[in-house]
């Protein structure tokens, strides 16, 4: 199976594309925010420029292998970094699930509260359904991460389950929320 080359998605305002090395300082700065560490289990802590460089290299590799599709969210072409959004944990289109991916995202602290996330999520979910041919998108968050839930609901995710002790958080096992989005529900 061939994998799509990195693409640029835009709604005329936000521009989403595979993270590039020039973003390393901005990613490093954004990932000092304790609020991100509160909810993101996989984020190295402390977070260094080297971690950001590793992350950027991994994004290109994952696009190449079709493992994950990660986008930097920027304010216009070449604009400042607002956040990151990805489709990961992809299930093959030929699998009985009919093709499924999970969305993951974060927004830099100064950029929150301006509706960046729903707009970016909408672009990425549309890409997943229309270009990757997925039949279902999933969203998971630690119980209590209300801003993540709000963003997912804004684009049409339907809350489906509370999964006890399903997620790991800094070595602790925590309860998770799970939502699903079908192609016709995206808004």
């Amino acid at each position: 199976m061939t994998h799509p080359a990195p693409v640029t998605l835009s709604d005329g305002d936000l521009v989403l594309s595979c993270p590039t090395p020039d973003l390393v300082p901005e990613i490093t700065a954004a990932c000092q925010d304790r609020e991100l560490h509160r909810w993101m289990e996989a984020l190295p802590d402390p977070y260094t420029e080297e971690d950001a460089a590793t992350f950027v290299r991994g994004c290109a590799e994952n696009w190449a292998t079709g493992k994950e599709y990660t986008f930097a969210i920027r304010a216009g072409a070449g604009g400042r970094l607002l956040g990151v959004v990805s489709i990961h944990d992809l299930v093959q289109l030929t699998a009985p699930s009919g093709g499924m991916g999970e969305v993951g995202f974060w927004v830099a602290a100064p950029e929150r509260g301006h509706g960046v996330l729903p707009r970016a999520l909408r672009l990425v979910c549309r890409y997943g359904f229309e270009e990757l041919g997925l039949a279902r998108m999933e969203w998971q968050a630690e119980v209590g991460n209300v801003s993540s839930l709000r963003a997912a609901e804004k684009v049409g995710f339907v809350f489906e389950a509370t999964c006890r002790r399903r997620l790991l958080h800094v070595g602790e096992r925590v309860d998770g929320w799970l939502g699903g989005l079908l192609p016709e529900e995206l808004r």
């Binding site: 009985p96 009919g98 039949a135 279902r136 489906e160 509370t162 999964c163 399903r166 079908l182």
Partner: protein, 372 residues
């Protein structure tokens, strides 16, 4: 999850049950353990930190110590299951049935220390206390100077709460400060770091047996069972005998440690169904469980027995902490079976799996935790 003030706890048992877990056996005390008890007692660390063993110097005194433990239910001898060698002691005591509290105590003989025996024994007794007895809180105290005991407490999720000053007699008129820890049933699960490598193992499932598939022997009957309309819809499996041969071979090969799969048979060796723990994840220590029951064997509790036995194996031998179970929402028999085997309903995943008729269906997710 236990809800404080809701369910009552079970009183401690009259005789401690045998618990097998993590390479250890916890069993009731026997009078002929006296020599082993003397060995535990006759050690500087035990005399310093275990008040009850401080006065045990003879076989008669050791027998009296054992008799006391036999009279209280939840006290165990910790033994090596391979050799029967007595390694140490663990017990729950000071039960408060109204508040659903108890205290845990433990100790090892000198040669058994440093190998994680205390940690595993405490974890096993804690699982029993929360799981079987319905305790809400287990406290743990050790002399402030006893760093090894503090390490065991922390490694098993007992959170330090404070110091009770001069609370433990040293037996010479002076006292040790006690470091108090406690663990709640509602605390986050302690994360085990490793999972044992498991070879294909047959398991008793009530009146039935979970067997390792044998392609030569089983392929024909597997293909026959999978021709059933219910199974081909909800658990589409091998149709031809060649496919069934390969299916049996795959399910008998546990070498990649991502699944543990069995055929369910009766005592005469007749195929009744299958059960499998799959998608085993070494990081999250989670897995999924799937099963089907052959048409002629339905309505006899085969599914419940098989699912219960496989679940016990998953939480015991495989070291998993969470098992998920998915079924199409129109498969009500499967939903009943999941609930009967203790898998709590968690949600409805819409259009999440393409079934044997080619249609995406909504599924229920159920899950059971090792601590449920």
């Amino acid at each position: 999850m236990s809800q404080p003030g809701q369910a009552a706890m079970a009183p401690p048992p009259e005789t401690a049950p045998v618990l097998e877990s993590d390479g250890l056996r916890l069993r009731p005390w026997q009078l002929d353990d006296a020599a082993g008890v003397l060995e535990i007692a006759d050690d500087d660390v035990s005399r310093r930190f275990s008040p009850s063993l401080r006065t045990v110097f003879t076989l008669v005194e050791a027998e009296a110590w054992i008799e006391m433990r036999r009279q209280r239910g939840a006290n165990w001898a910790v033994v090596d299951p391979a050799t029967g060698e007595l390694l140490g002691r663990v017990g729950l005591h000071h039960f408060d049935l109204d508040d659903r509290c108890a205290e845990i105590g433990y100790g090892l003989k000198a040669t058994a220390r440093g190998a994680g025996v205390a940690r595993r024994a405490v974890q096993t007794a804690v699982d029993y206390g929360f799981g079987e007895l319905g305790l809400a809180r287990i406290s743990l105290e050790h002399a402030l100077d006893n760093a090894a005991s503090c390490g065991v407490a922390r490694a098993t999720g007992f959170v330090p709460e404070g110091v009770r000053r001069s609370a433990i007699s040293r037996g010479d008129g002076t006292y040790d400060d006690a470091h108090l820890h406690a663990r709640l049933a509602s605390d986050p699960l302690v994360l085990p770091t490793t999972r044992p490598v498991v070879a294909p193992t047959e398991v008793v499932a009530g009146a039935y047996q979970l067997c390792i598939p044998n392609p030569e022997l089983d392929a024909e009957s597997v293909a026959e069972a999978c021709a059933d309309p219910m199974i081909s819809l909800y658990n589409a499996g091998p149709v031809t005998s060649e496919d069934a041969y390969a299916w049996c071979r795959g399910r008998a090969d546990w070498s990649d440690q991502t699944h543990a799969s069995w055929l369910v048979k009766d005592t005469a060796g007749l195929l009744l169904g299958t059960v499998s723990i799959f998608q085993i994840n070494d990081r999250s220590l989670g897995g999924q469980v799937g099963y089907w029951v052959a048409a002629p064997a339905r309505g006899r509790g085969v599914g419940t027995a098989a699912l219960t036995a496989a679940t016990r194996f998953a939480f015991g031998a495989l070291g998993l902490v969470r098992l998920e179970l998915y079924h199409a929402i129109d498969n009500e028999a499967s939903c009943r079976l999941a609930s009967a085997a203790g898998f709590a309903f968690e949600g409805t995943h819409r259009q999440s799996y393409r079934y044997g008729d080619g249609l995406l269906r909504d599924e229920h997710s159920h899950a059971r935790l090792a601590t449920d």
